[in-house]
């Protein structure tokens, strides 16, 4: 688990009814939803492969990582986004896509409660308040095999 400084800046995202915050340092880019090619035999949270900047990119379902039911962008009224982010703590860093419904804003948050490593692949680390909204704080560096 990576220690995070207080009042760190986060990218706020929505996946279905859930809201979450990603540390801004782990985010590389936010783009309109990439075309995903399904991979036979993949786990449910791995939506498939996409192409980003000429490179292959595995895309994960953000909602499922938060422990929600499937699936990001499905049936959403708003055109979805793919967040390209660094995942895990390997060197050189590994890049993956996170499929979300909406990228809301960049905001400085203070974590109100630490939950320890939970959620799928142990990346949920706590909760915070963004305005009046409760958001789940993720740490992508905490990625580990389920």
């Amino acid at each position: 688990m990576t220690e995070m400084a207080d009042a760190e800046r986060y990218l706020l995202l929505r996946a279905g009814d859930a809201f979450c915050a990603l540390p801004l340092q782990q985010v590389r880019r936010v783009v309109r939803a990439l075309t995903i090619h399904a991979l036979p035999g993949a786990a449910p949270e791995l939506l498939g492969l996409a192409e980003f900047a000429g490179e292959p990119l595995p895309v994960l379902d953000l909602g499922m990582l938060l422990g929600e039911a499937s699936s990001a962008a499905a049936g959403s009224q708003v055109a979805g986004v793919t967040v390209v982010a660094r995942i895990g703590d390997s060197e050189p860093p590994e890049i993956a896509g996170l499929a979300a419904d909406e990228a809301l804003e960049i905001s400085a948050l203070e974590m109100t409660r630490g939950t320890g490593a939970s959620g799928r692949h142990g990346m949920v680390v706590g909760e915070a308040l963004a305005g009046e909204r409760h958001v789940t704080v993720l740490d992508l560096a905490a990625w580990k095999a389920a």
Partner: protein, 541 residues
């Protein structure tokens, strides 16, 4: 005529008498010879013998002839009485033919008187037979005519009742038609007035609807233009939304890039990016707000377009119907005028028809009553004539109980045919030929048959003139059960021609009487000849 028994009895009496005389004479001579032996004079014996001889000669030449004459007279008287008895026996049996023959054998005045009496009786009986046949024939004809009249009269009465009922219905209907026609005339007049007013109202309505239709068409044109504009605005809004989203992402990525930078420039870049993001968000919110308003407006415009299109269509339909209605009302007005005139004429004509029908009904009711009285009278007349026919038949059959030397006498006819048949008895084909001849000559006979007692055989010939081509029961054709029939038993019991009471024929199911006669030879029954006489055909013949 002296029969053999009587002659033998007379000879025996004669012999007995001679035996007694000879015995007395011999006994006397023997006594004289005994007396002479005891001393009596010889002349006395001679005298006695002479006396006996004289007595014998006297008996032979004087007494015997007179006795023979007496016996002859007695025999003749007995024969006459015998014939007289047989004649009377035939009379008792109703056989005046045989009775007449027996009476002719009775000698003297008695015989003449008897023959005369039987002759007179036969004449009277013949007249009765002939008369009864005529009466029965006339009664049958009367009865038939009466029955036909009664039937026709009943039908006539029923027809009159039907006609009366139909006429009453006609009169009633005529009354209803008259009432309806009057009401119709009134309605037609009212219709004519309403038609005038309706035509005017419809013309106003047509004009009004035409104006409405034009206004609706104008509204529809404007609404469609509005709808086109709204769609254009939507397209612009989509573009604004798209740009705002792209700007939003761009501002986020700018902020991400700024976060990677350190120092004052990174912080300022981050502020600018955040400002851009806010602008993009406001643009998107404004676009969403306009879109929401435009959604409502577009829906209203589309609803207006749809409503005006429907309204225009309906207005056109109303206009079309109103124009058709105006034409129809014109036609209706003309028809109402014609109908009112026709109804008045119908009302007048049916009033007259009603009155005429009422008179006809009254007349028909009277006629119906009279016809019913006639029918009732004829029915009674038919019943009376039926009884008369039965009485005629009774009289006819009663007269037929006598056998007369007449073709009207059925007993005489059947006896005569038996005499024709008798020489051929035993020759079965000859019998058949004769029976066929009988049927041809006796057209009132349904069938003729001869039943042979010894073999139990039957020859039966039917008259197809009466029976037509109907099939005949096998039992009848083969004579099964004939010996149990009344005609057979009566004929065998009486030993002469008989006539049965009338009964229904098993062949024609009409009334018949059977004339039957036994064929006898030396008192032995050979068979029975029978004729089934169809009463109706016989009476008419």
């Amino acid at each position: 005529m002296i029969d053999r028994a009587t002659a033998r009895r007379a000879m025996a009496q004669e012999a007995a008498r001679w035996f007694a005389i000879v015995t007395v004479s011999v006994a006397g001579i023997a006594l004289l010879l005994v007396a002479e032996a005891h001393g009596a004079p010889a002349w006395m014996v001679g005298a006695y013998a002479l006396t006996c001889a004289v007595a014998l000669l006297l008996y032979r030449f004087l007494v015997v002839p007179s006795m023979r004459e007496l016996e002859a007279r007695h025999s003749a008287t007995r024969s006459a009485l015998d014939h007289l008895g047989k004649a009377l026996e035939h009379v008792r049996a109703g056989d005046l033919v045989h009775a007449g023959r027996e009476a002719s054998d009775v000698p003297g005045r008695a015989g003449a008187s008897l023959a005369g009496a039987i002759g007179a009786l036969e004449v009277i009986a013949q007249r009765i037979q002939g008369g009864s046949t005529d009466v029965a024939g006339a009664a049958t004809a009367v009865n038939r005519i009466a029955a036909e009249l009664a039937s026709a009269s009943s039908e006539q009465a029923a027809s009159v009742v039907e006609i009366t009922a139909a006429m009453e219905e006609l009169a009633r209907t005529a009354g209803q038609i008259a009432d309806s026609a009057r009401a119709q005339a009134e309605l037609a007049e009212r219709g004519e007035q309403i038609g005038h007013r309706g035509a005017s109202a419809v013309a106003d309505a047509v004009s009004g609807v035409e104006q409405v239709r034009e206004r609706i068409a104008s509204i529809a044109g404007r609404a469609e233009a509005l709808d086109v504009s709204a769609r254009e605005i939507f397209r612009v809004l989509d573009l604004i939304t798209h740009i705002a989203r792209e700007t939003h992402l761009l501002s986020l990525n700018a902020a991400i890039e700024a976060a990677a930078e350190t120092g004052e420039s990174g912080r300022r870049f981050s502020l600018v990016a955040d400002e851009v993001r806010r602008l993009a968000q406001r643009a998107q919110e404004s676009a969403n707000s306009v879109r929401s308003l435009l959604d409502d407006f577009g829906a209203s415009v589309r609803a207006t377009v749809v409503a005006t299109a429907e309204g225009g269509g309906q207005a056109a339909q109303v206009l079309e119907h109103a124009q058709a209605g105006a034409l129809a009302i014109d036609d209706l007005r003309a028809a109402a005028v014609a109908a009112a005139g026709a109804a008045r004429e119908v009302s007048s004509a049916t009033h007259e028809q009603e009155a005429a029908a009422g008179e006809v009904v009254a007349t028909l009711r009277e006629a119906s009553s009279v016809v019913q009285q006639i029918a009732e009278g004829l029915r009674r007349f038919s019943e009376t004539s039926g009884r008369l026919q039965a009485l005629g038949l009774d009289t006819q059959l009663m007269a037929q109980t006598l056998r007369l030397a007449s073709d009207h006498s059925l007993k005489h006819v059947v006896e005569n045919w038996l005499e024709v048949l008798r020489p051929r008895l035993g020759n079965w084909s000859a019998i058949e030929g004769l029976l066929e001849d009988f049927v041809v000559r006796l057209p009132y006979v349904e069938c003729v048959y001869y039943y042979e007692t010894d073999g139990g055989r039957t020859m039966l010939v039917v008259n197809r003139q009466i029976l037509g081509d109907r099939s005949l029961p096998t039992a009848v054709m083969e004579g099964i059960g004939f010996t149990e029939r009344p005609w057979y038993k009566m004929a065998v019991a009486s030993g002469r021609a008989v006539l049965t009471p009338p009964y229904e024929s098993t062949l024609s199911h009409e009334l018949i009487v059977v004339a039957a006669v036994p064929a006898l030879q030396d008192g032995r029954l050979l068979g029975v000849l029978g004729l089934d006489v169809n009463v109706d055909a016989w009476t008419r013949a």
